[in-house]
Symmetry: C2
Subunit: 284 residues, 2 copies
């Protein structure tokens, strides 16, 4: 099995895409014609994957939406995962974070049981809570840094003092993630809301991939995220979009509409990448 970083880089190049499609199966939003089927969950997620697999760099199933469906959700999650081509990485959005033995059990659940290429985790418990995930050196571990929700500032923006320097908590997390990245494939979750955050985190972590939620239905600023977030190779971003793609249409054309929405986001991002590359070239 190829490592996450290689698999991601290959998908980015092959599909010319930084789009990460979130799979958040929420019954009221699923097209009625699909919802009426007994196998709606497997049918819907497989249909979204079929319509978009050549336009994305990764899929991000969100465990919460599967868990909310109970036993059916767990069966449906396996069907969703089975529908994803093996050369497109799967980032399981789980945001787990717990002490050693429990973290080990979560790592087993996500990496071994479900076969994730990468996962999201929460940093609140510190390094040893993430170590069982980092021990899977070929998998990816995306650490929550600065999130895109209204209340993110409450703790993440608190100014904390370390060695006499005062920085927001999220910057301390980014610095820690850079240290952790020496032993594993580590990324950061950075919401597409504040340009100064992107600039600060990219300065601290020039080489870590950013998973960027907050684009699309959450109304983040895509141009800002691309301009401030691209790494020096013009990549290093996974722009996550769920609802704006998978629920692009509630009618019979849901697959075609998802494809168009994914293609539109991909092309928009690529236009911004090109503009930035040319801007940088003309300045040099």
């Amino acid at each position: 099995m190829a490592g996450f970083a290689d698999k991601l880089a290959a998908a980015v190049t092959r599909n010319q895409s930084l789009v990460c499609v979130g799979l958040d199966p929420d019954p009221p939003q699923v097209p009625a014609s699909v919802r009426a089927r007994g196998d709606w969950l497997a049918h819907f997620t497989a249909g979204i994957v079929e319509a978009t697999a050549d336009l994305v760099c990764a899929y991000k199933p969100n465990l919460a939406f599967y868990e909310a469906l109970g036993a059916d959700g767990w069966a449906g999650l396996r069907a969703s995962l089975a529908a994803i081509p093996s050369d497109v990485p799967v980032l399981l959005d789980a945001k787990r974070g717990d002490i050693g033995s429990t973290a080990q059990a979560y790592a087993t659940a996500l990496f071994d049981e479900l076969g994730a290429d990468a996962v999201t985790v929460s940093p609140y418990l510190g390094f040893d809570a993430l170590e069982p995930f980092l021990a899977y050196r070929e998998r990816g571990v995306f650490v929550l840094c600065k999130t895109s929700n209204p209340g993110a500032a409450e703790f993440q923006d608190l100014l904390c003092e370390v060695h006499g320097e005062r920085r927001p908590l999220y910057e301390h997390v980014a610095r820690a993630a850079v240290r952790w990245s020496k032993q594993a494939s580590v990324g950061l979750v950075v919401g597409a809301t504040h340009p100064e955050v992107f600039r600060a985190v990219r300065a601290v972590a020039p080489d870590l991939p950013f998973l960027v939620p907050g684009v699309g239905a959450q109304g983040g600023d895509l141009a800002m995220a691309v301009n401030e977030g691209l790494d020096r190779r013009g990549a290093g971003l996974l722009v996550a979009s769920s609802r704006a793609i998978i629920y692009a249409s509630g009618g019979e054309d849901w697959q075609a509409a998802a494809r168009e929405a994914a293609r539109g986001l991909r092309d928009c991002i690529n236009g911004l990448r090109e503009a930035k590359a040319h801007g940088a070239a003309s300045l040099s």
Copy 2:
């Protein structure tokens, strides 16, 4: 359905216990005679509950250990939950934390699908990430504050400045939890490792229940936790113990051994409670 706070108070009084038994089903630790059965997971957890239900104030199934078992784990979790008497509260240890719509899906999964009386959550994303949980006003929401693992200090102890006052991050979380407790039944997770932490958090949050991991297999200081952590009514603690109780014996006597371990912890805690009550009385 009785609210979590009332159900907990009734169990504390009825069983004269502050012991919260953690259900962490880990195959290598399960007695071999049990492990050999096809229905080992349901048999083991039901057997632990049967042996201890009159000695505890709550059970705390740890979702990670069930998730690590895949589809069998989810079926086993339902069997575990079904085995717990309806008058003993179930605290699902999940440590979830995510943005609004996802947090809502996790709340649905834990409270509606699985029927938890209370859950553990992570504070890193701020208030709006916890609001969907707090909206279940009759359920309990335990917020990670200071954990018992070696790396807890990495972020939780960072000195953060708010309104000109510098306090460790965990104290800011405790203060926020007190605010949130005005609209729901909120508790804190406080590891049994540092007396000064217990004192500081109890001073900030005199009336919130503390879920205390780190006793037993993790080697925390029980006497310290009871002396510093009891609230003014001589309760307000859920002392969590998992491995030291449920894996007390790997032999045929596993149920009797679990019962003795639970009874021993309960009686030890009650001795400390009495000593503190008498100490306080003799000082007044």
